[in-house]
């Protein structure tokens, strides 16, 4: 659905490449994530893919057609969520939707979209007075307005409380369920883990690895078992053991047999541990 080969980009007036020789391929119906710290080049990559930044080198193909060969009809097929909300502040939420909706011929369900993100009561309020979270949600549904085949979502949950973040993630998963292809950027490893079929780690404009979240954790994370036990008297001790061959671990078995065990937890590696291990950088 989306393919990038040797994609490189440098901003005018900058002396570093914001995207360096990126190669990736996004399959139809897939949620593909770019996970990386601030300044890694996530937004830059999205802006290149949606035709906002020109003059890149390398090849980009979207829906089987080179990006350069697409005319503005391209935008009938893709929906874009920007990192920073960009609305007409003097218009109401509804007017903003109707204004952007007027560019597309497909039938639109403005009220349904507003309802999905909890903005129905605010439909006729001026966007200028919206909170950050309200603007972010309005921005998000604007991407869905014309029911596009591909979604590009730049940090869709940033600035949202857990409840609203949940709503947005559920909508993204619903979109995947009806066959949409979704490119999403984030520096939130929980979101990446939950949403993405595959993730690319990006640092300083370079892709370090592309894998399924599960495989990443399997390959790079240590699975551990954490045991809490009473070591005679009042003392509570905590020990960690590798999950692998745990039954043959003499120390672990000794504890089970001879001590009073308070709790045992198996611990999965988290994506940010994997991120640090693979890239040598912290996510935040």
């Amino acid at each position: 659905m989306i393919q990038a080969d040797n994609l490189t980009f440098q901003y005018p007036g900058s002396h570093v490449q914001a995207a360096r020789n990126l190669n990736f391929r996004i399959e139809p119906g897939e949620i593909f994530g770019f996970l990386g710290p601030s300044g890694a080049g996530k937004s830059t990559t999205q802006k290149i893919l949606i035709g906002l930044l020109k003059g890149y080198t390398g090849k980009i193909s979207i829906m089987g057609k080179s990006l350069e060969d697409w005319d503005p009809d391209f935008y009938n097929h893709v929906g874009i969520g920007f990192e920073l909300p960009n609305h007409y502040l003097k218009l109401t939420a509804m007017e903003n939707l109707r204004f952007f909706g007027s560019f597309y011929s497909r039938k639109k369900d403005y009220l349904g979209l507003l309802e999905k993100v909890g903005l129905l009561q605010d439909a006729n309020k001026i966007v200028e007075n919206f909170s950050k979270s309200m603007k972010v949600r309005l921005n998000f549904i604007r991407a869905l307005l014309h029911d596009p085949e591909i979604l590009f979502l730049d940090e869709p949950t940033t600035g949202l409380d857990p409840v609203n973040s949940r709503k947005i993630k559920d909508i993204i998963l619903d979109q995947k369920a009806i066959g949409k292809t979704i490119f999403v950027t984030t520096h939130n490893m929980h979101d990446a883990d939950e949403l993405c079929d595959r993730i690319s780690f990006i640092v300083d404009g370079e892709l370090m690895i592309t894998e399924t979240p599960k495989q990443l954790k399997l390959d790079h994370g240590k699975h551990k078992v954490k045991v809490e036990y009473a070591d005679g008297g009042q003392l509570i001790k905590v020990k960690e053991f590798p999950l692998k061959d745990i039954g043959k671990d003499q120390k672990f078995m000794d504890i089970l047999k001879t001590r009073e065990v308070i709790s045992i937890h198996s611990q999965e590696a988290s994506l940010d541990e994997v991120f640090i291990k693979v890239t040598g950088k912290n996510l935040l």
Binding site: Y11, G13, T57, F82, K90
Partner: protein, 235 residues
């Protein structure tokens, strides 16, 4: 270009111009001009009338397009527009048509108030609308490279001074053919011609020369859009 999308965009542009008080400013200025003319000018003095009408679409159009585009830049809505099926041509045409409508209506009000109902509407509207379009497009080209009002205000005189030069010919301070290079010479000819006869050569020149500038300005504005609104890599 889709006519349906264009009409829709003109509608929304007019709506935004109401919200951003542009219509209010245009109305206030028009009333002010009408009052100035009525109070200060006793006899029929069409030179002053033409001067007022001339400064209205030219000056105001330049400030209006600047304000509209800077508002869009400020709220980053231009990025959002660029990634819709809306064409650059539709965006520019919509600005030209909506601001041209306002300019034409204001100019007509001033003209009718000052001169009565008897003048050549075709020449008048032709002159005012196309001039407003040229100013809007040049103004867009100018503002496309600016970040804020302060920067824009600095370049306004650079654009407006040359456009005002043909007033020297109009008030017979000069009689220079050089000023015929500027589009506003044709504007002044047409405005005058809608009240009083002018020579055939002046008429032909004006009717043909104004659209030539319109075409040039359009291309310059479209170039500026691609060059300055969209970011291009230096690779």
């Amino acid at each position: 270009m889709s006519i349906k999308r264009l009409i829709g965009t003109v509608f929304w542009d007019l709506r935004l111009q109401v919200k951003y008080q542009i219509l209010t400013v245009a109305a206030v200025v028009t009333i002010l001009y009408t009052m100035i003319f009525k109070l200060l000018v006793r006899d029929e003095f069409d030179e002053i009338l033409v001067l007022l009408i001339f400064t209205d679409p030219v000056m105001l159009g330049f400030i209006f397009i600047g304000a509209l585009v800077l508002f869009e830049k400020g709220s980053h809505t231009l990025d959002a527009l660029v990634v819709t099926p809306l064409r650059i041509s539709e965006y520019l045409f919509s600005k030209v048509i909506s601001l041209g409508l306002i300019a034409t209506v204001c100019a007509l009000v001033i003209a009718i108030a000052g001169h009565g109902l008897r003048f050549n509407y075709f020449l008048f509207i032709y002159g005012v609308f196309i001039t407003s379009a040229i100013v809007t497009l040049l103004g867009f080209a100018g503002v496309s490279r600016m970040r804020n009002f302060n920067q824009y205000f600095i370049i306004i005189p650079q654009f407006l001074a040359p456009l005002a030069l043909p007033l020297l010919n109009f008030f017979q301070l000069t009689d220079s053919w050089l000023l015929y290079i500027l589009p506003t010479q044709a504007t002044l000819n047409l405005l005058w011609a809608s009240f009083h006869p002018i020579s055939t050569s002046d008429m032909v020149y004006s009717l043909i020369y104004l659209p030539v500038w319109l075409l040039l300005s359009y291309n310059y504005a479209a170039y500026s859009f691609r060059r300055h609104i969209m970011v291009s890599s230096k690779l």
